[in-house]
């Protein structure tokens, strides 16, 4: 009985670890652009390039690299173009902050539009 429980625990440990790796791998692959495809992520593509990157990402996870390290490795090799979430840099500053600026200006605009003029007695 004890040996069965031990085997079961071992199985669950192995299963949960590989399941976790699989989840992390999928998460990373969904954030990578397939360079040879039209608007597809590496996760969604079955191109030769995507299959190689999938395999490399799995290897990197097995080697103990975390998500950020894998993104850094791939952007060093292929440039930031491979990342669907480009990092905040000088040339991507506008990309990151323009939506917030537009949102802020929109609120001011709405504020003035909705605000009714005070009726003076």
């Amino acid at each position: 009985m004890k040996s069965i429980i031990k085997a079961l625990i071992l199985f669950l440990l192995i299963f949960s670890e590989s399941y976790g790796d699989e989840n992390l791998s999928n998460e990373i692959l969904k954030n990578l652009r397939c360079l040879v495809c039209q608007g597809q992520t590496v996760h969604d593509s079955n191109s030769d390039f995507a299959l190689t990157i999938k395999s490399v990402v799995k290897d990197k996870i097995k080697e103990g690299n975390n998500e950020r390290e894998i993104y850094t490795f791939l952007s060093e090799k292929y440039g930031d173009w491979i990342l669907l979430n480009p990092p905040l840099k000088k040339n991507s500053f506008l990309l990151w902050f323009l939506p917030y600026l537009l949102f802020f200006l929109g609120i001011i605009f709405l504020f003035f539009l909705i605000k009714k003029p005070k009726i003076r007695p």
Partner: protein, 172 residues
């Protein structure tokens, strides 16, 4: 109050116009411009003719090196091969050929038919090692200097203009 609204609307439209105008000039396809100036990885590559490996660190002994990723099944590789043969005649330039996801016999036949321009012939059976060089298809060619710095990266087959450009770079 109306004046403020006009100002805000004008600012919003101006910003939108600037963003759209700037993005018109952006290339929407992958290019290797960002990689020029970076150093290639120091990695071990399997040699084609033996079970030994070769470390890219050894390339620091060469003044200039070309890393060419090719395969016998790749049509454009066949097209660019005469240009690699031309480049192999330049004295201060070493050519490293990395045979990519290929069958050894086919690769050997390819080189027998078209000539072997490579000083070192390596192989990447599953394509994983080529990721270290930012390769995403073949043929691809990387020109590096003795500090392992990427001077130029060519995607697709080398043409005669590329050969002349490489000649100019290595003659400087």
């Amino acid at each position: 109050m109306k004046k403020i609204n006009y100002i805000i609307i004008s600012v919003l439209f101006s910003l939108l116009f600037i963003v759209l105008y700037l993005s018109l000039g952006n290339e929407k396809i992958y290019n290797t411009q960002d990689l020029v100036g970076k150093k290639i990885s120091e990695v071990e590559i399997n040699l084609f003719q033996s079970n030994e490996t070769f470390n890219t660190k050894e390339l620091t002994n060469n003044e200039f090196t070309i890393l060419n990723f090719w395969a016998s099944w790749c049509g454009p590789c066949r097209k660019e091969h005469p240009n690699l043969v031309r480049l192999s005649k330049i004295k201060n330039l070493k050519l490293i050929g990395v045979n990519f996801k290929d069958e050894k016999d086919n690769a050997r036949n390819f080189l027998r038919e078209n000539g072997n321009p490579f000083d070192i012939l390596a192989e990447d059976k599953n394509g994983k090692n080529s990721v270290n060089f930012g390769v995403y298809g073949i043929p691809e060619t990387i020109l590096i200097d003795s500090k392992l710095k990427i001077l130029k990266k060519y995607i697709g087959p080398l043409n005669i203009n590329d050969v002349n450009e490489i000649r100019k770079i290595v003659k400087k």
